[in-house]
């Protein structure tokens, strides 16, 4: 059972009506002085507590969109608003990421010199709290992903599935409102892939955390309430039109 640091948001099923968490308007992203156009005018709304799968062929701009949603990249043109506030107007984007966003990457991206317990505590360092409270929370998060027996193992001594479970625990460290997962099951076998998806969806169900995941796997995408397909830097298909929700 996935534990959560705070319960700012009610589970999606208990809210009076969906509120928009993220608004993307006319977002373009260019690289190499405009030679590469990764995003070509994306419009997208993400509701609080929504699960959204972003699909599409390689190079269509899925990961770039995810990075812009997580304030890791700035759009060349267009605007992204989070909770009604434009990201371009936020001075402390690091603090924003620490509080509001949880990231999960395909390659896990854990710090190799730190143990599982320490890796989960890394994002907490930006949000205060005592050493003891951070440790306690990290232990709870790792227990919730089934790793209570692997607290002091470094990533090199964990399997791929276990590493991704540490990454899931880390992404929930500060109780974010939005989880961004870039092919979270891409490097895992099918059994571990199922387990990771279960953990992510459980976090979503228990705490109403919105989940945006980039995937190539239709089975993974099918577990999300909404699917967006991208092509050549634009949204080509949005299942919301069919009214499908988890």
């Amino acid at each position: 059972m996935v534990e959560h640091a705070s319960a700012r948001t009610q589970p999606s099923g208990e809210t009076s009506g969906p509120k928009t968490l993220v608004t993307v308007r006319g977002v373009e992203r260019e690289f190499d002085g405009g030679q590469v156009r990764a995003l070509r005018g994306v419009d997208l709304d993400i509701e609080e507590g929504e699960t959204l799968a972003v699909m599409g062929p390689s190079g269509c701009g899925k990961s770039t969109l995810l990075q812009i949603l997580g304030a890791l990249e700035r759009p060349t043109r267009g605007e992204v608003c989070f909770g009604g506030q434009a990201l371009s107007g936020i001075r402390d984007l690091s603090g924003f990421r620490a509080r509001e966003i949880g990231f999960i990457f395909q390659s896990f991206h854990l710090i190799p010199t730190l143990t599982a317990l320490e890796n989960v505590q890394v994002p907490m360092l930006e949000c205060g709290g005592t050493c003891k409270s951070r440790r306690k929370r990290a232990e709870g998060l790792l227990a919730s992903v089934g790793l209570e027996g692997r607290l002091n193992h470094r990533p090199s001594h964990l399997s791929g599935g276990e590493r991704q479970r540490v990454a899931v625990a880390r992404s929930l460290a500060n109780g974010p409102r939005l989880l961004l997962a870039d092919e979270p099951t891409g490097n895992l076998d099918s059994a571990n892939a199922v387990r990771i998806m279960d953990l992510l969806l459980e976090a979503h169900r228990r705490h109403g955390t919105a989940l945006v995941l980039v995937t190539h796997d239709p089975l993974v995408a099918n577990q999300a309430g909404r699917t967006v397909r991208m092509l050549d830097g634009q949204v080509d298909f949005d299942s919301r039109l069919e009214g499908r929700r988890l």
Binding site: E73, F105, T113, L125
Partner: protein, 373 residues
């Protein structure tokens, strides 16, 4: 876990590189420790010597730029000895000489008899006989170095001298030296009637007045002469100045070389961890926290190197003090101040070497850093 844990564990990531960098810093700091302690020791040894002799004021000819002051007329001593405040005046001629097969040694010619001899304690034999030429006494360290005992002869320049006694002094520099009556030294150095130091001892209750009177007379009548107390004469000794200058220059060289070494190691570490730094930024670390992490790594590396350097420097100094070249000539001055200085230099080195890598790390864009190979 704290923020420090992350920085500390980064240092342990590549132990071989960390150890090699520590060695590099350690050698630099060791050079600083060794040279500074020897330079300070050199100064202290001379100060001790003047204090042991009971000298209140030393007169030298200031125009000399050679390691030893220029000789001047020994008759000056009689003029100052006539001052009512002056208890005694003793001329001194000193030079560095190669004796037989041994390395260069300090050879003194002292007014004999005179107050300069009062602090020496005879271990064996007797003092030179008045009026008998070609006699000398050896400090016990000089006797060990030369392998001489009472009754042996010592060849200095073209003359053979008889060792009449072996003495011990509270001043290390005298224990490693050869002392003969002044006229003998003047003859050996072909400077008859001359001295290069004039030592004055004041009457106990008239010390300040006596020193002022002598200085006034020198200013009025003997331009180009200096009158210094024991501390001044030690600190303005040309050898001490050269040693101090070398230690200062070496410290700076060590600082610059060490800073480049630290910068290289830390920059390499930042380059290798570009993606990792991207992760830290992505999950919410502020650029200034990343900067602090890299700076702490750099300073921890330098401080550890500084501690290694202090240990290496102390061992090196103890070994150097036992070599024939330095034995009986100087004793390193090692104290908490020196350790503080060495750690201060290490810390400065860590900051200087870590600033650029830290700045670079903090400027990384998380999105770009995550795409790094």
């Amino acid at each position: 876990m704290t923020f420090w844990t992350v920085a500390w564990k980064n240092l342990l990531r590549r132990p071989t590189r960390t150890i090699l960098t520590l060695c590099g810093i350690g050698v630099g700091i060791a050079a600083v420790v060794a040279l500074t302690s020897l330079a300070r020791g050199f100064e202290r040894v001379w100060r001790n010597a003047y204090e042991a002799r009971g000298t209140d004021l030393v007169i030298t000819k200031a125009t000399s730029r050679s390691p030893l002051p220029a000789p001047f007329d020994a008759a000056l001593g009689a003029e100052f000895a006539a001052f009512p405040e002056v208890e005694g005046a003793a001329g001194l001629m000193s030079d560095l000489m190669g004796i037989e097969e041994s390395p260069t040694m300090l050879v003194f010619g002292w007014d004999y008899p005179g107050f300069l001899w009062d602090h020496l304690k005879l271990q064996q034999g007797a003092w030179p006989q008045r009026g008998v030429p070609k006699q000398l006494v050896l400090g016990f360290l000089a006797a060990e170095t030369l392998g001489k005992k009472v009754g042996d002869t010592v060849q200095i320049e073209f003359d053979s001298f008889q060792v009449t006694g072996i003495f011990e002094s509270p001043a290390l520099v005298e224990n490693g030296s050869v002392i003969m009556p002044l006229p003998e030294m003047q003859r050996v150095t072909e400077r008859l009637g001359q001295v290069n130091f004039l030592n004055l001892r004041m009457r106990p209750n008239l010390r300040a007045q006596g020193m002022a009177a002598v200085r006034a007379r020198l200013k009025e009548k003997y331009r180009g002469f200096n009158a210094m107390d024991a501390g001044e004469v030690a600190s303005r000794n040309t050898g001490v100045e050269v040693a101090r200058g070398m230690s200062w220059a070496t410290s700076w060289i060590a600082l610059v070389v060490g800073a480049f070494g630290v910068a290289n190691t830390v920059l390499m570490s930042v380059f290798e961890r570009t993606r990792e730094i991207g992760i830290l930024l992505a999950i919410g670390w502020k650029p200034r926290r990343v900067m602090a992490m890299v700076l702490i790594e750099s300073m921890a590396l330098s401080l550890l190197g500084g501690v290694c350097g202090i240990v290496i420097g102390l061992v090196a100094v103890r070994l150097l003090e036992r070599t024939e070249m330095l034995r009986g000539k100087l004793e390193a001055d090692i104290g908490l101040g020196l350790f503080g200085m060495a750690l201060g230099v290490s810390l400065a080195l860590g900051v200087a070497g870590g600033l650029y890598p830290a700045w670079r790390a903090s400027r990384l864009q998380p999105g770009e850093a995550l795409r790094a190979d």
